[in-house]
Symmetry: C2
Subunit: 384 residues, 2 copies
């Protein structure tokens, strides 16, 4: 089996499994806020996990807020920035953001009267930095926040986040960088990034599902979305998910050790794409000319339904998706591809192949054979 | 070892551990929203878990919203009811609510101008139903919501939730019943309760930490706190915590089978309390004359610090707390006890002994011996 849907969700990584087998066997299980020994021990384990996460992510200990995942982090950041914002009315996002960002921004538009400006992207799926500069120049005093992702979940295209962040810092605009697809797939250092806010989800990293981290430059300015009893220094209520948080530390540590393989993986991925294009000149690699995550290939054979390719690969025990999991069930061109100006025959033909750093390089050889066979079969019954 | 802090947090129950050992070994791990086979299988497992939870809790399938815990549930309910409320300005809570309720209500008071009315309780920690009737009679058209717990986390005292719910239904007032300490400790049927909203936390039930359920009578009226990509039918965004949600089903099933032991456990608990009072006539059992959860004893020896008792018991490998985990570190009379009008010498002397339905009855014999020895030792050095 080749699991090639890491951008959708990562299976529990081996180190996390091994950790949990021991951890569940021996305990302790207790409320980390309890004064007894078991409580203190549980708390210490969790805070040790926070220290590990902080170190791997290049953040201060206090900048790591544990939560239930990136979506909660996103909702918390929007809430924190916009709750009491009455003067600045513009939210800038891009046309390729995840629906968690789009839907949250639209919520503040419809409920609170903010204006959402959607930054266009070029044909390779990179946001238009020049346009952003113009927008900031024109509306500087009226921009409440900017939220643009570090790497796209469908194409894997890496955005000019450094330049965007500099623009935000220079103009005093709060910046949320959606790093959900970035963290764990390429090295990341929160302090060096200088982002105000970054988010990640444990299930994308091989940690337990329902876990996540919100990274905050200035935690004292944070306004909790989930209020509760003062946990996470008042930033996020509710008894802490200590087991889940511990697995975040284990997973991040494992990923951190794997980054050495990135170059080789990227090379192999490029070879795979070249072979596919050589065999099928019609094939399109989305975002091909932009910097991309080493582990993502978004490939289309115009005229063949992506879902047909997905099913064909599945029959060979290879699991890919057609776009993002959230919109997977709609056999239409995804919002991301529409924003990139991709034609419908290409857009409906895509499958996303996303591996992880620890995937064997041979997977790409197997993928070459399988996808070649799928395309060869399906070109005989092209449906549109 | 006797773990006697179930009201703070339950250790992972054996059935959940066994389930996880198999589950983590064999998978599947995938995004439940992905179209491939692994995604569908993951989704089916999770929806099967929802069906089990619904059945055990006496709710419709669609009334079960998975989330990260009771605190998130509480914040979601307040948000749903109060977001667009401009006419009704009163929130009624009681003086013995968990800080998650108190802090959330106070947030809406300070940020949105709601008035929080705090219902008094009697000396046994039962809310004043007559006063509630008067308040409703006087302010009927101005009450935005009522939030009163089913059972108190410190005393275990069961509140007249049926009567409160009837008053709310009769007067068209949205009612959130904080059932965090109730569910899993005594039989509960959501439909029969007729509550608008109820909440629970997995970590109180022996499920994985960071899990929970929000039960909603009319889910279509719910407004998501965490917006995201439309998961949980749009009621709660973020990739679902399928592993955690599965453990909720396993834990609830196990607890459901344990309710037969309640009567015996309650009898044994009462014997334990009688023995302690016989040996030490100064001893006070908080909430003694009210209906209580079978597994909770909140006991005070006036003049002896609760923390000294807790440490003494801990030296005998018995783990109790002094009040709720959230306020455990403050050696003062808890808010709950203050609301009950408990004097400081009693309030500072309490320890909370909370077991679960599956605790061996013999634990109470061991607790009798241990607590007798602790009191005997500490009465020689009474500190206040």
């Amino acid at each position: 089996m080749i699991y090639a849907d890491y951008n959708g969700s990562a299976p529990l990584c081996t180190s996390v499994k091994d950790y949990l087998f021991k951890r569940l066997e021996k305990g302790p299980f207790a409320n980390p806020n309890a004064i007894h020994y078991l409580g203190s021990k549980t708390l210490m384990g969790m805070e040790n996990a926070r220290a590990v996460c902080a170190k791997v992510l290049g953040a201060d200990f206090d900048q790591v807020i544990f939560n239930s995942g990136a979506t909660e982090g996103i909702s918390t950041v929007f809430h924190s920035i916009l709750k009491n914002e009455v003067n600045k009315k513009i939210i800038i996002i891009s046309g390729i953001e995840h629906s968690a960002i789009i839907n949250t921004a639209n919520y503040y538009a419809s409920e609170r009267g903010f204006e959402v400006k959607v930054l266009p992207v070029n044909g390779d799926g990179v946001v238009d930095l020049e346009m952003l500069k113009v927008w900031i120049g024109q509306n500087k005093k009226n921009i409440a926040m900017i939220s643009i992702m570090a790497a796209n979940n469908e194409t894997g295209v890496i955005q000019p986040y450094k330049e965007i962040n500099s623009l935000c810092v220079d103009n005093g605009i709060p910046f949320l960088c959606d790093t959900t697809q970035f963290i764990g797939k390429t090295p990341f250092n929160f302090k060096e990034s200088n982002f105000d806010y970054a988010v990640c989800s444990g299930h994308k990293l091989g940690a337990l599902t329902g876990t996540g981290i919100l990274l905050v430059k200035n935690p004292e300015g944070l306004c909790p979305l989930i209020i509760g009893g003062g946990q996470e220094k008042g930033h996020r209520g509710g008894t802490q998910n200590y087991l889940g948080n511990e697995t975040l530390a284990v997973a991040l540590n494992t990923l951190n050790e794997g980054f050495v393989k990135l170059e080789e993986l990227s090379k192999k991925r490029n070879e795979f794409e070249s072979k596919m294009k050589a065999a099928f000149p019609e094939v399109v690699i989305l975002g091909e000319n932009a910097p991309r995550l080493a582990t993502t290939t978004y490939i289309s054979y115009p005229g063949i339904h992506g879902q047909a390719v997905q099913i064909e690969l599945e029959s060979q025990d290879i699991f890919v998706t057609t776009s993002s999991a959230c919109s997977d069930n709609m056999p239409v061109t995804s919002k991301v591809l529409k924003a990139m100006g991709v034609a419908d025959d290409v857009g409906r033909g895509v499958v996303r192949i996303s591996l992880c750093m620890n995937s064997p390089l041979e997977y790409y050889d197997q993928l070459t054979v399988a996808l070649t066979s799928a395309y060869a079969k399906l070109t005989k019954v092209k449906s549109f």
